[in-house]
């Protein structure tokens, strides 16, 4: 078990920067998720940790030891790939046994038949056999040990890949979008299996995904990456409630956070569609800002000067909840309001409604997408 530290890691392919000098400390036994849209450099970062890719600059410390010059096999990490990367010609048993044989057998012992002639093979193979059987028992693979990967379902292949990773007690586990080839139902199931596994092993997990739901549900901490930059690292709650960047706010949460464009006037008052909202910011100049509000923080309210008028364009009924898609005057983005299905009565497509939100639920971002903080006035509620 080990901690992993990234120091000033940068990676560029020719002129293109894939990762811009970033640092990250992953604690021993932590489940850290690297999340971001495709092409943000998260997989490259994981492969740098694994040693499959050499960074242009910086160093990777595994358990405090500079490891950038070490071969992948010398880092004693395990990795699960998106395509599982099972050896198609080997049975499930042999697939799981490969990392053990590669490490514990000598050169001669690795050759079938010849290994029987070498002294001491029997005790090593018995040791390997016990481990493989124990791991397959743990993952429910025992009845499948003689099958070839081609005869397995996606979920079973995933389990074999997990088995191959855990069989040799590596210091940390790396996952490269391991669930994205599975169907939706299985994905949710495997999520909990991986979390269980991490609790049992109490080992360091670094998990790459583009699925924010996976990141939110599985991790101790989330690291959000965008365009090669590490934007924010924090617990799921922290990332959701306190995004430091508009892109983080937009990426995390489903449906997406509502972004309203607003102006501040010379008194620092925030004005939405030329109507002052009742909170202010410290900077007293007239600039454009964004107000971001989660769908569940918006509500339909009675008409009042402070409420925002809009028109329902679409209603999505989900069973336990419903989403209203509302167009607001002078706002380019359609907003989404989460309501209870019981509140849908009386609304239909085309209905004119008023929308309000609590000032404490509003997140403000400046033109560059950086978080700014409001100083709420005593009566801070937007609706009447």
């Amino acid at each position: 078990m080990a901690s992993i530290s990234l120091r000033n890691i940068g990676k560029s392919f020719g002129q293109t920067n894939v990762i811009n000098r970033l640092g990250l400390d992953i604690a021993d036994g932590e489940f850290l998720t690297l999340v971001g849209p495709s092409g943000c450099g998260k997989s490259t970062l994981l492969r740098i940790i694994a040693g499959l890719e050499t960074p242009t600059e910086g160093d990777v410390l595994i358990d405090g030891k500079a490891s950038i010059k070490l071969r992948p096999s010398e880092r004693n990490l395990a990795m699960v790939f998106q395509s599982y990367a099972l050896y198609p010609h080997l049975s499930v048993y042999d697939n799981i046994a490969v990392p053990m044989r590669m490490r514990q057998f000598t050169r001669w012992q690795r050759i079938p038949f010849v290994r029987r002639l070498v002294k001491g093979t029997r005790s090593v193979s018995q040791d390997i056999d016990e481990k493989v059987k124990a791991v397959s028992e743990k993952l429910g693979l025992s009845p499948l040990l003689n099958r070839k990967p081609g005869e397995l379902s996606g979920g079973q292949k995933q389990r074999v890949a997990l088995g191959r990773a855990i069989v040799r007690d590596p210091v940390a586990f790396l996952f490269d979008e391991p669930l994205s080839n599975l169907d939706a139902k299985l994905r949710v199931h495997m999520r909990s299996e991986i979390i269980d596994l991490q609790r049992k092993l109490a080992s360091t997990f670094v998990y790459v995904t583009h699925d924010q739901a996976e990141a939110m549900t599985m991790s101790d901490r989330i690291a959000v990456m965008m365009q090669g930059d590490l934007i924010q690292v924090g617990t799921p709650e922290d990332i959701y409630l306190n995004p430091q960047d508009l892109r983080v706010a937009e990426f995390i949460g489903s449906p997406k956070i509502n972004v309203l464009s607003a102006m501040t006037n010379q008194f620092g008052q925030v004005c939405l569609n030329e109507t002052p909202v009742r909170f202010r910011i410290a900077d007293e100049s007239s600039t454009e800002i964004s107000i971001a509000v989660r769908p569940e923080s918006l509500f339909v309210c009675n008409p009042s000067p402070a409420a925002i008028p809009g028109q329902i364009k679409h209603i999505e009924y989900m069973g336990d909840q419903a989403y209203l898609y509302v167009d607001i005057e002078k706002q380019s983005q359609r907003i989404i309001i989460k309501v209870l299905p019981t509140q849908l009565a009386g609304y239909e497509i085309g209905s004119a409604i008023h929308v309000g939100f609590d000032a404490k639920d509003a997140l403000l971002f400046d033109q560059d997408g950086q978080r700014i903080y409001a100083t709420p006035s005593p009566r801070s509620v937007v609706n009447a």
Binding site: R47, A50, G51, L52, R71, P72, S73, L77, A78, M79, F81, Q82, S83, A85, Y87, P88, H89, L90, V98, P99, M102, R103, R110, K148, P149, G150, E151, R164
Partner: protein, 324 residues
């Protein structure tokens, strides 16, 4: 079959659609083979009026006369040399080329040239090169006799070897071999040209096989502890190339059994029948000597060889190397 017809009302159409292909297959594949098979039991020669049934006589000759024993041994020698060497070289060259960062296409083109060139034309070039007195090969070899360093290296005299016991030393004294005119060298020379011609094709097939191996498998092998290039080759490359290898082996085997152009152009089966391969024997007996019956018998033996190889390949593909 009124019952079947009523169950499949469109059977007539189905048969009509299949018919052209079936007719073609019968006319251009089955009938000729059948005719060859029947002719092999006769002493027929082209243009003769009657057909004498001789039973298994032709086959008895093929399996007993020393000429045909030489035919089998030279064919098998050719196959036994060309197949492993050209497959091995093809694999080696493809691995080397695949590992290159640039220049891949240049090497591919160079090694593939002999495959594209007409073998008959190439045989003439080889004939010049291998000519005992004016050929570039013996010229180069005898030029080496003048160079002291090379001479002592090639004869092994630097190591204390007796010059006259070494192949090169004797060559310098008594002249280098008549590559195509000596019965001890002719088949090996033909085999060498066969390898030169075949390995580029195998290399291209192996390159296609290599490029279809997922890089993630290599990464996975690396993380699993396969540190040396050899262990990655054993764990990933070789097994993943299994289907390619079976195909390459089959194709090379069949093509080696079919060797003809070089023999016809360079040695005409000689000297002393040392390069009398099966295809050339068929050509000589059936076309040149107009002994169609015996030619047909050799053809049937040849076809059964090829059939056997194909069946083994099918069995291997189904059994061992097919990863669904």
């Amino acid at each position: 079959m009124p019952d079947a017809l009523s169950r499949y009302p469109h059977q007539g159409i189905a048969i009509g659609l299949v018919a052209p292909a079936m007719v073609l297959m019968v006319v251009i594949l089955f009938v000729p083979i059948l005719i060859a098979f029947l002719l092999s039991f006769t002493s027929y020669s082209l243009g003769s009026e009657q057909l004498n049934w001789v039973g298994l006589d032709n086959y008895r000759k093929v399996f007993s006369k020393s000429t045909y024993q030489k035919m089998f041994s030279s064919t098998l020698l050719y196959v036994a040399v060309v197949v492993p060497v050209s497959v091995g070289l093809g694999l080696g060259a493809s691995l080397l080329i695949h590992s290159l960062k640039f220049g891949q296409n240049l090497y591919k083109t160079i090694f593939f040239l002999p495959v594209m060139a007409a073998l008959l034309a190439m045989a003439i070039a080889w004939e010049f090169a291998l000519h005992p007195t004016i050929g570039i090969i013996n010229h180069t070899l005898s030029a080496g006799c003048e160079s002291n360093g090379w001479y002592s290296f090639a004869t092994g005299s630097w190591y204390g070897n007796d010059v006259s016991t070494s192949w090169y030393g004797r060559g310098c004294e008594k002249g280098f071999p008549l590559w195509l005119g000596n019965k001890d060298y002719a088949m090996w020379t033909i085999a060498f040209i066969g390898i030169w011609q075949a390995f580029g094709f195998n290399m291209v097939l192996y390159l296609a096989g290599l490029s279809s191996i997922s890089p993630e498998l290599y990464h996975s092998a690396e993380i699993d502890g396969a540190r040396s290039a050899w262990s990655r080759f054993r764990l990933v490359t070789w097994p993943m190339l299994g289907p390619t290898t079976v195909f390459v082996l089959t194709i090379t085997l069949i093509r080696s059994f079919q060797v003809f152009d070089t023999v016809e152009a360079l040695t005409s089966g000689g000297p002393v029948k040392s390069t009398y391969v099966m295809m050339y024997a068929i050509f000589e007996k059936a076309i040149k000597h107009n002994l169609v019956g015996i030619g047909a018998a050799i053809t049937v033996v040849f076809l059964s060889f090829v059939m056997l190889i194909t069946l083994i390949q099918r069995w291997l593909v189904d059994r061992r190397v097919h990863y669904a």
